[in-house]
Symmetry: C2
Subunit: 479 residues, 2 copies
């Protein structure tokens, strides 16, 4: 807003102004220029510190190499909780605690297998069970395959689905520049594919992996059976994108080929776990809270580097950058390592429940759960005044590649905090590589670039610094 006014003034001046700034305007402008200089200097310090004394990369190496994939309820997730609590204490947060929460406990079991016969050869197919799927019978499932490209198409199958394995082969729309949009256009097949055709009498579901490219890795992810009766539950697996392309080709030549798959996953009783929480007390409004966080759990196939190890270490590095630069936030800065984002969101819900129970006042929250790639910007979910305010910081953020300050959701883990007085912000790094690794065995530490990770931490510290200083809150926001 401020920027537009200044530009307008400059324009008027150059055209021979017919309106002049008042003395009061000039004083405000002078003050705001001085503040802008302070802000720009502090932001520069965040970046300098992250790029020369950053810790996030080594923290991430430790988490991914020494603990690895950490699905909710697993021993690795439990180790990650201990790791997170310990690390927050080492960074010197004012207080660190655990929030107990019961989480779903789904386990994959033995490695899945799948194959079919085609022209006298056995084609082995890389698959993996989807999270929450039931197992196949011990001997596996063999059935003919019926291919569809969307949930809508599947809904029309009717009788044709009976006794079949339904093969969802809808691919990402690679024309979409932001790959999260392409994901959004497909992920329904993964989540609701089994429920949709289970009630039609299908015996299993194979879903093309959620990825832009053609690779040999099945990408797992969450699914659900929704409201369908338990007797209609059918097993669901992801198939690699290359195997999906091949299967589709082979089905054209032999529509009656028999597909076999076997998986041994199961859902055990809920398990105890924790959110890990730590905070830097606010100097002026310690009772007002800003959250920065990511999720500590991950899928089990890779080591959960980009999803969401990077979000975890960046969130903690934000606090480190504040401390290292001697900047104490006015409001309390709370770092949260949420548990169970991938299959349940139980940590996020419990965090919110406790916040309400304790009458906590949140003014903003920032989530990093879109990978650790090079910075591009933030998505903002806020009331119009705060949305405009955040977008007015573009000049301060653009020198660091942060050009995108767009209206949009903040992220899954902070979404329960949504309220007209809470500004939710999602960190949005470059999305091109993200779905190459997402939920697959390839989501590993070596895919993370140190500088990109550190630039992300500094980007997050910068916007939190500005949020802390300038956000309109329920006290200052006039209707």
């Amino acid at each position: 807003m401020k920027k537009i006014t200044l530009l307008a003034l400059a324009t008027l001046a150059s055209l021979g102004a017919c309106q002049r700034p008042t003395t009061q305007d000039a004083a405000t402008a002078k003050k705001s220029t001085a503040e802008e200089k302070i802000d720009s200097t502090n932001i520069k310090h965040f970046f300098n510190t992250a790029l020369t004394e950053g810790k996030s990369y080594e923290w991430l190496r430790d988490l991914t190499s020494n603990i690895g994939g950490r699905l909710s309820g697993s021993p690795e997730a439990a180790k990650a909780v201990v790791w997170g609590e310990q690390l927050m204490k080492e960074v010197g947060l004012d207080s660190v605690w655990l929030q107990p929460v019961m989480v779903p406990h789904w386990v994959r079991g033995a490695k899945e297998t799948a194959h079919y016969e085609f022209k006298g050869s056995t084609i082995d197919v890389p698959i993996c069970a989807l999270g929450f799927s039931i197992a196949t019978p011990k001997e596996g499932i063999t059935a003919e395959v019926i291919e569809v490209n969307s949930l809508d198409e599947a809904k029309q199958l009717g009788e044709k689905a009976k006794g079949k394995i339904v093969f969802y082969n809808g691919a990402f729309d690679n024309k979409l520049i932001n790959t999260f949009q392409a994901y959004g256009g497909c992920v329904g097949q993964r989540f609701a594919g089994a429920a949709t055709v289970g009630k039609l009498g299908a015996v299993g579901v194979i879903v093309r992996s959620m990825t832009n490219g053609i690779d040999d890795y099945p990408h797992t992810g969450s699914m659900g059976y929704g409201e369908i009766p338990e007797e209609n539950y059918i097993p669901a697996a992801a198939i690699s994108s290359r195997a999906a392309e091949n299967l589709s080709t082979h089905l054209k030549e032999n529509p009656n080929l028999k597909f076999y798959f076997k998986q041994s996953c199961q859902t055990l009783p809920d398990a105890p776990s924790f959110n890990v929480v730590g905070e830097l007390k606010g100097s002026e409004h310690p009772d007002k809270i800003m959250v920065v966080g990511g999720h500590l759990d991950s899928w089990d196939l890779g080591d959960g580097a980009h999803d969401d190890g990077t979000g975890i270490v960046q969130s903690l590095e934000v606090a480190y950058l504040f401390k290292k630069n001697g900047i104490r936030p006015k409001n309390t800065l709370r770092v949260v390592f949420f548990m169970n984002e991938e299959n349940g969101l139980r940590g996020a819900k419990e965090y919110h429940r406790l916040a309400k129970e304790n009458n906590e006042v949140h003014i903003g929250a920032l989530e990093s759960d879109a990978g650790g790639h090079t910075p591009r910007g933030f998505s903002i979910d806020a009331n119009p005044k705060n949305l405009q305010l955040v977008q007015s910081w573009k000049k301060l953020l653009a020198p660091y590649g942060l050009h995108d300050l767009v209206k949009g959701g903040g992220g899954a883990d902070i979404s329960p905090l949504k309220d007209e007085h809470v500004t939710l912000v999602g960190y949005r790094p470059d999305s091109q590589r993200y779905f190459d690794y997402h939920h697959a065995v390839t989501d590993t530490f070596d895919k993370v670039n140190k500088r990109e990770l550190e630039l992300g931490s500094a980007s997050m510290a910068s916007i939190l610094y500005l949020m802390d200083k300038y956000l309109y809150t329920s006290d200052t926001l006039k209707p």
Copy 2:
């Protein structure tokens, strides 16, 4: 310019306008909105085609896997010329030809070795000869080491350099967001390090690799002896950044340690080679030329994927995207695969010499030689009117992540074309990862992301499309 005017008008309107647009202004604005819509549609088509029917990734796989590193004068560089000519013909350019040029022919010889004794152990050191360096004597060189952090410091060594190996350990300034700036701050050590201390009586030079991070790979690159007498030539090698850190530490404990290194490189007589050139004839001004290019040669250590295989395949993909979308440029679009950018720039100089000899009129040139990472923008070297014009396209380019339209050099290979009537543009993708691989054994195909590469091709096609349509030329540019 146009954008600023529109914004100014909008501002005036909102303040209660004291100047109104004339009817003529309104008509111009209407026309320009219609044109902007056409431009935006054509740009969208470039991106759609690149992301769904792009060829660059498979071309690059072919070049890097089947030919590999292709240093000027090498058999691989000769193969790359044949490959390039053939590929341009396959894409269906109107004409394709080779421009003969003699190039330097430096060869590395046997793998370099280096080591020193420290606390009773032998430390092996990863080094590689710098391009154009002389060999060590056959038995290698053993000498004490003197460490400096800059050329300036080296110049002050005086007598102290005599008989020593000078170790340039100046590191990248990692605080600089654009890593090319950090490179610019250090590369003098590599290029002029040997000449600087050769005349002081030093016996060899070891230069810290030009990279942001700490890794185990020596990064090669060009050096020169400048004007110093041949008897002062001394061998120069790059040392991995980790080995440089270790050596520096060990020198503090034992300033008299003896460093050994051996390399067998030599400069052979100049060898015949070629630029590969192809063009799409302009529909309105076939005599006016716009160049798009990169360099076909590379260093010998990796397979020259990011430097500059990506620039090569993107430049050809630009022509492919024009053809595939039925867009014929008004001016002639000339694709140039320059030879010998890395150590000599002979191809670029010969291209320019021939252009002058043949009285060719160039109106613009675009170079891609900054890696194949995700798009960020362009640097522009043009007269003020064309600079402003190119910057006015931001609205059309920003949706594709192209926010940086900054004044700056276009690139080494197109630099000889510099003239007040020629607009030179450099494609500037994200720079964070570039120096991880630059000139090292790690610059390989697997570091290139398909979508990032294709987005680059489309970015380049888009700006060339706009340059073709709108650039002020010597005919239309009024003083």
